[in-house]
């Protein structure tokens, strides 16, 4: 496996050799930031296209076709348009909070995004509490949504925001518990540590049934966490017109839109890191030739491939199921997912203590 750490270390050494240390750190920071922003926007655009094509396929349609070959640059047209669309200033609203909300949402998703290891050594910073940081940062998003709903001075937006608050707070628990199950197995909170622990086999295979249960719980909770169908109640197009972002126009709405798609990538990325081995290739014990071939595929491809696969599952779910109702959604979390998750955690703890896992 090619270690991207070599490249990054070389850049670091080069910068340090031509300038003082503090400046080198600053330059690195800027470089990383630019790379992140670029990646963020490119990925978001890719995801919008990905979803539109996939949903077209599911619905016996073609999806975007006319703008560019196979509609490839459709999303660019959307972005150009939305960038220069009017930002409507509303009367009787809290203008500061109204403007702040979309930024909070996008900052939250960017913080988590920055924390994902893309490949072997391709990570910005390796915390020893990386998993904890990811969960903490992702919950800033709900503040943005609540602010958006509150400051819009619109009843639909307020109902949407309140739903969103209840939903996020509830499902955060399930996400946390299912991730904790994996943390328990690997014994580390560092994201790289968890990935490296999967060199011999992905956790979903190694962890017996508890890992599979945790993966399913994670998928359901992640769908809810990203406000996507069947849990898209905060937006609930057919009930609340557009939910918490009813009053947002132009690029402010664009931020919500981008963050929604990026969050989809983030939750799929976390799923692949925690359960599917992250950037680790697929290894089957005993099949040496097969393992060697798998090692030739770059780690970035492994990571993105797994993330896109999980996103495909999530998109498939979204376009198949009807929306649940708010009481059913809360019942699902508090009556089923969380107790199951907790029991699952205990079983996993037993497995780990007794050494039942591979």
């Amino acid at each position: 496996m090619f270690d991207f750490g070599i490249v990054t270390n070389w850049i670091d050494a080069l910068l340090n050799s031509v300038m003082p240390g503090w400046l080198a750190t600053c330059v690195e920071g800027v470089l990383v930031m630019v790379a992140l922003l670029l990646l963020y926007s490119v990925l978001a655009m890719f995801y919008i296209f990905y979803e539109r094509k996939l949903c077209g396929w599911i619905q016996c349609r073609l999806g975007p076709m006319r703008v560019g070959p196979w509609g490839l640059i459709q999303v660019f047209a959307d972005v150009f348009k939305i960038l220069i669309k009017e930002l409507i200033a509303l009367k009787n609203t809290d203008k500061f909070l109204f403007a702040l909300a979309p930024y909070l949402v996008i900052i939250a998703s960017m913080l988590v995004f920055a924390n994902l290891p893309w490949g072997n050594g391709l990570q910005i910073i390796d915390f020893n509490i990386g998993v904890f940081f990811m969960i903490a940062a992702s919950s800033i998003g709900v503040v943005g949504i609540l602010l958006a709903g509150w400051s819009s001075n619109n009843k639909y937006a307020l109902i949407g925001a309140m739903r969103s608050g209840a939903q996020m707070v509830s499902y955060e628990l399930s996400i946390g518990i299912s991730i904790m199950t994996m943390v328990l197995m690997t014994g580390t909170l560092s994201v790289t540590g968890i990935v490296e622990a999967q060199a011999d086999g992905w956790l979903i295979f190694r962890g017996h049934l508890p890992a599979v249960v945790a993966f399913i719980i994670y998928l359901i909770a992640a769908n809810a966490e990203t406000n996507r169908g069947p849990f898209d109640m905060p937006e609930a197009e057919h009930e609340l017109t557009a939910g918490y972002h009813t009053e947002y126009s132009g690029i402010h709405f664009g931020f919500f839109y981008l963050a929604e798609y990026l969050n989809l990538f983030i939750v799929s990325g976390i799923a692949s890191l925690m359960f599917l081995g992250g950037w680790m290739p697929l290894h089957v014990p005993g099949w040496e030739g097969f393992n060697a071939v798998m090692d030739y595929i770059p780690s970035v491809v492994w990571f993105l491939g797994k993330a896109f696969f999980v996103s495909f599952l999530l998109i498939w779910i979204r376009w198949t199921y009807p929306r649940v109702r708010i009481d059913q959604m809360l019942a699902l979390e508090w009556k089923y997912l969380m107790p199951f998750g907790l029991v699952n955690l205990v079983i996993m703890a037993l497995c780990v203590t007794l050494g039942f896992h591979f």
């Binding site: 009843k155 898209d232 609930a236 197009e237 009930e239 376009w319 199921y321 009807p322 929306r323 109702r325």
Partner: protein, 540 residues
Amino acid sequence: MVNIQEKISALCPSATFEEGDKLTVTVAEKEWHALAKALKNELGYDMLTSVVGMDWKDSLGAVYYLTSTATWEMLAVKVAVSDREKPMIHTVSDIWGVANFQEREVYDFLGIEFINHPDMRRFFLRNDWVGYPLRKDYDADPEKNPIRLTAEVNEDDTYSLEEDENGNITRVDKKVFGDDDYVVNFGPQHPSTHGVMRLRTAINGEIIKKVDVMSGYIHRGIEKLCEGLTYPQTLFFTDRMDYMSAHQNRHCACMCVEKALGIEVPRRAQVIRVMMDELMRISSHLLSYGCLTMDMGATTAFFYGFREREDVLDIFEKTCGARMSLHYNVIGGVVADLHEDFQKDVKAFIPKMRKALKEYHKLYTGNVIARNRMIGVGELSKADAISYAVTGPSGRASGFACDARKHKPYSIYNELKFNEIVRENGDCYDRYLNRLDEIEESLKILEQLVDNIPEGEICAKVPKIIKLPAGRWYQEVEASRGVFGVYIESDGDKKPFRMHFQSPCFNLVGVMDNCCKGHMIADLITIGAALDYVIPDIDR
């Protein structure tokens, strides 16, 4: 008939009788309320089919069409008041629930106030509208009612005329919503109101406390327009009321005129009409399936419904030349002969639709989220369904067997074999299943007819200028959403004196408040979609 006459005479000696299309009883305004109660409780006329507000020039009044759901006998009751300045009739909204909205419509069009009616607001027109448009002396001067671009004020204000024991009538001003109500406004522009319906909803958290239906956002004054047009011209509007029942509605209007003229429609035309009706029903139920699923968030199912609907539209297009506003039926028959591919297309369509139905069930009916969202939501009891005259698949979901094709067979329906789909629970799930099952029944009818289209004329001989003799006629058909009625009153001219369309959707919105109370906001959308009303049909 004679029997009923005697019974009514015993109840109300001053009533006079008039034989005609339906037995018509004329009663004085004072005796009307007592008679109505007796008609319902003692003679079994438990459904108020239609209330037609009338302006007979010398007097104002209303014609009430009552139906007994046991025998499907119909009775017309005529109530007239001669006071044109302040006409007042006693309400029957305490006896039949449906009268609530029906009487508001009469008030809106003719200015007749109903004593003891709980909520006397205009139903279709703005509350600052000047005049009553269906009165014969209505001043249509656009200066009086210019296009106003400001919102209506005092939407919350209403009043009722309350009568005490001594017969004194006092006006009591009321508010629709209290000061403590958190009112959320759905519509007129809202993706799930299926058009421009406006539902003002008082909520407590997510729970709905009260729904106030405000209609009229697409009230186009069809009934008034009809009074200025000849009979063939009036048919033009039937396709545009419930555009998903275009064939059935037009069929009904044609039959009403044919009945008045005594025209015998050729057999071939009858068969074609029935086949078109059933195809229209299928297309309507497919749309309804699509909209219900989409409103509940399952966008994909919507596309599946529309996929098959396009096939039906193709069949229409070949014969009628249009996809939606078809204008195929004319007085005496149909306007053009069938396209040569018609039989082939229908035969190909039937197995395809059967296969698709299975797919729909697989895709949606068994889905656990869908079931949880629909079962037990928006329940309507059979008694309420009859009281509110909820017909069609929605009424039959409540256990109310009300298919006009079975109980009041018209055209050739009595020769056909098909089942009336009745379910008992009255919730959204039953309404949804009823629609899918009715597609199957319609396919059965098509199957019976597709090889048995007789040769012959497609249109009877009809006079060039159609003049109806003086009198009144009422005809019903089973449209896609329930029983659709056409009322024609003629004074012998080539234009109708009064034409009234009794739309099924009008009754469907009447139960919104009943069904939604205690449910959640998300259920409001499901209930609306499962009742499946079409707004232009309500507003006309």
